[in-house]
Symmetry: C3
Subunit: 320 residues, 3 copies
Amino acid sequence: MLSRRNPQLNRHGELIHLLSIEGLPREVLTHILDTAGSFMSVGERDVKKVPLLRGKSVFNLFFENSTRTRTTFEIAAKRLSADVINLDIARSSTAKGESLLDTIANLSAMQADMFVVRHGESGAPYLIAQHCAPHVHVINAGDGRHAHPTQALLDMYTIRHFKRDFSGLTVAVVGDIVHSRVARSDIHALTTLGVPEIRAVGPRTLVPADLREMGVRVVHDMDEGVADADVVIMLRLQNERMSGAMLPSAGEFFKRFGLTNAKLGLARPDAIVMHPGPINRGVEIASEVADGRASVILPQVTFGIAVRMAVMSIIAGNQA
Amino acid sequence: MLSRRNPQLNRHGELIHLLSIEGLPREVLTHILDTAGSFMSVGERDVKKVPLLRGKSVFNLFFENSTRTRTTFEIAAKRLSADVINLDIARSSTAKGESLLDTIANLSAMQADMFVVRHGESGAPYLIAQHCAPHVHVINAGDGRHAHPTQALLDMYTIRHFKRDFSGLTVAVVGDIVHSRVARSDIHALTTLGVPEIRAVGPRTLVPADLREMGVRVVHDMDEGVADADVVIMLRLQNERMSGAMLPSAGEFFKRFGLTNAKLGLARPDAIVMHPGPINRGVEIASEVADGRASVILPQVTFGIAVRMAVMSIIAGNQA
Amino acid sequence: MLSRRNPQLNRHGELIHLLSIEGLPREVLTHILDTAGSFMSVGERDVKKVPLLRGKSVFNLFFENSTRTRTTFEIAAKRLSADVINLDIARSSTAKGESLLDTIANLSAMQADMFVVRHGESGAPYLIAQHCAPHVHVINAGDGRHAHPTQALLDMYTIRHFKRDFSGLTVAVVGDIVHSRVARSDIHALTTLGVPEIRAVGPRTLVPADLREMGVRVVHDMDEGVADADVVIMLRLQNERMSGAMLPSAGEFFKRFGLTNAKLGLARPDAIVMHPGPINRGVEIASEVADGRASVILPQVTFGIAVRMAVMSIIAGNQA
C-alpha cells in the first residue's frame, strides 16, 4: 500500500508547491529561511535583479482582491527576472461561467511555470496543484481561513532575524485567531521550528478551544497573554467581524486586547511586535506601539520580498 | 487607375497588419503557420524568450474585455521580449469623450510599435490601421461579429498539426455561426488553404444561408453535419443568445446540436474536436467529449501562443 | 537658524524629487530639457531601451485615475529598463482604511526606488516625499489643482523645440485657468525660463485675478489674448465645470474662448498651438485648429516620454 504523499513535496522530499506550512519538515522551512537570507542583499543592490527565473512565466491568480500581497509577489518575481502576468480573475472567464479547473487547464496550456493563488475558499490551491500540468508550481497566497504560508515564513524569518534562535522563545499570537489564516500558519511554523511556548490570546468567541490539542496555550486575558513574551504577533481585526455578535465594539476590543505601551511593558524588555498588515490603528494596536521601538512591522515587509523570492526560486528548481 | 490595395499587405505583398483572414493569399497563411512551428520549441525551453521584439512597445487595446485573449497576446509579446502596455480602455480617455482616432493618434505619438485591438464594433481595427502612424502595426484580436484572425490561424495550425494536410479534409463548424467571428474567420482560412468540404452546422436561426455562396455546405441536422468529418469545430453558445427568440433553451440546443460521444461516433474514427473556449459544458459540448481522446482543445491554447508570436514577429519585420 | 530647504533638492542643489516647478532654478529646468533632448533619439531607435534604471522598481501610485498619464510614465520607465509596478490604489489597502502614510511606509519597505504619484488632493506628493525612506524618489504626476510639473516641462520642451529661445516670446494660456494644475505649472516654468509676456486668457470666473502678482497679464477677451502670440496653450475644459454656475454653456464658451482658425489668425503667422489633452473638439478648440498646421499637440505627446525619461534618470542618479 502506498502512503498518501504530501502534495507539496516530490518523491525526493523536495518542495514543488507551497500550499501550507502544515506537513512541511523543519529542514524545508529552514532551507527557505536560509535562501531568503541570501536574497536580502539583492534588495539592497543597485541592480535589484538576479536571472534565476529568466524566461519563466509567473501568473498571479487573485480570485480575492489583495493589492498588497499581489504586489509583493510581483516584485519578488520581477527581481528574479520572471515575466509576470496579472490576471484580473473577477473579470475573466470565471465570470463567464467557466469552472476553476477549466481556467487552470487553459492557463497551464499557455506554458505557465508558476501560479500564485489567492482564493476565498479553503483548499482551492490544493485543488489547483492536483490538477495543473506537472511543469507548473503552485504557491498559496492565502486561501479562506485555511493557510497563508508565505506570511508565516516571513514571520519566522523576522523572528529568527531578531531573536537568532527559536528554542527558548515565548510567542503570543493575539486577536481574531478563529478567522485568521495567518495565525493558523504561524502556529504550525512555530511548532515545527521548536518554539516551546506558543500562546493564542483573545476573547472566547475569537480563539478556537481545540488549539490546545496542538500544544498551544489558550489565554483569554491580555495581561497574562503578553507576560514575559519575546514576540507578540498582533492580528488584524476584520471590520466585518465587529458588526456581528462576536464582538461588542472596536473600542471594547481595544480596551481588552489592543496592544498599548502599558500592555507591552508586561512582555520581556527586548520583545518585538509584529503584524501582517494593514494595521488598524487604535483597534488592535496603538500608534505608540506600531511606530515604537519594539515594532518590526516594516522590516517584516522587506523580509517578505526575500522570502517570496526564496520560495519561488526553490520550487522552480525542483521537478515534480 | 490604381486598384484599392489590401490594407494588410505592403506593396511587396508582405503582411504589415493582421486584420482579417479574408483577402490573404495562401502563401501568407502558410508562412505564418511555418513560423509558428519554429516558435513551438521556445515554449518548451527553460528560458522561454527570444529577443526578436526587444525594445518594441506593444499596446493591448481591449475596448471589449477579454482576459483570456489579452493574456495570450501578453505572453506572446513577452516571450518575444517586447514591452507590453495593457490599457484599461473602458476607464481611460475614451471614457472622457475622446474619439477613437484621437486616442490612437496619441498612442502612436508615444512611439508604439504595435496595437492589439479587441473592439465590439466590426471594422474598428481597419479604421485604426488606416489612421495610425506608418510605423505602427495593428493586430485584430476580435472585432464585433466580423473577424478573429489569430483564432482562425491557431485553428489552422491545430488542424495541420494533427492532419498534416488540408487537401482531403471534411471540416464541420457547429453551433451559433451567425454571431461568430471565429466561424467567419475559420471558413475563410479553410477555403484559402484548400479544404474541399466545409460544413456549417446549426439551427436555421443561427446559420446564415448565404454561406452557400462561399462554397460552404449548410446543414441543419447534427448527424448529417458530423458524419465522416475529420475535424469538428464546436462554437461557444453565448448565454445572451439563449434568452432571445433565437433558441428554445440551452437544454434543447444541447439535445439537437451538442456534441456527445454518440454524435462524435458518426465522424471519422480519428476525428479531432476543437473549441475556441471557454467551453460551456453540457450546452454545446458534453464533458465526455471535451475531456475525451478526440479533444484537442488544450493543444489549441498552446499553439495559440506560438501563432501569436509568429504574427507579431512577421508584421514587425515588414515596413509599410 | 537653518532656512527651510526646498524638499526637491539635496544640499548640493541637485534634484531628488520632482514635486512642483515652483522653486526650481532655471538651471535645473534647462538640465532636464537638455537631458530629454538626448533621450529623443531612443524613441526612434530599433531597440527603444537604455539600461539606466535596470533593476530599479518604479511604482505608479495613481490615487486618481488617469490611464493616459500613467501610460506615459510606464513607457518612460520601461524604456529606461526599470521594473514597473502599477498599483490600483482605489482597490487596495487605502480602501481598507489604511492611511496614506502607512501605505507609503509599506511600499518603501518593499525597496521601491521611485513613486509616481497622482492624487486628488494638493500637496499629497509633498507629504509622501517628506515621509518616505531616503532612498525613494517621488514624482508628482498631478496633485489636485496644485501642480503637474512633468506636463509643464514637456510644454517647455515643445516651446524650445519650435521657438529655440524663450527670451522674446509672447505665450497665451487660455481657458479654465483657476482649476488647472497645468496652467499653474506652465506659468511658473515660463516665468523661470524668462518668457517676457505671459497672458492668462479666459472668463472672469475662470481666471484668478492674483495671477497679476506673478507678472502675468490677465485678459478676459480672446482677440486681445491671442493677438501677436507666439505660443497659444489651450486648456481642457472639464465637463463637470459646465454644469455649475461658472459657465453659461459649452457652446457659449466656444463662441467666446474656443480657438478657431479665425482667432488663430490674430496670433503671429508662425504661432504654435498646444494642448495637454485629451482635447474637447468644438468646446475649447475647433477641429480645424487641432488638426491644422499650427498644432503641435501630438509632438507634445512624443516629447512627454523623453521628458519623463529625463526626470526619472536625473532624480534616480542623485542622493538625498
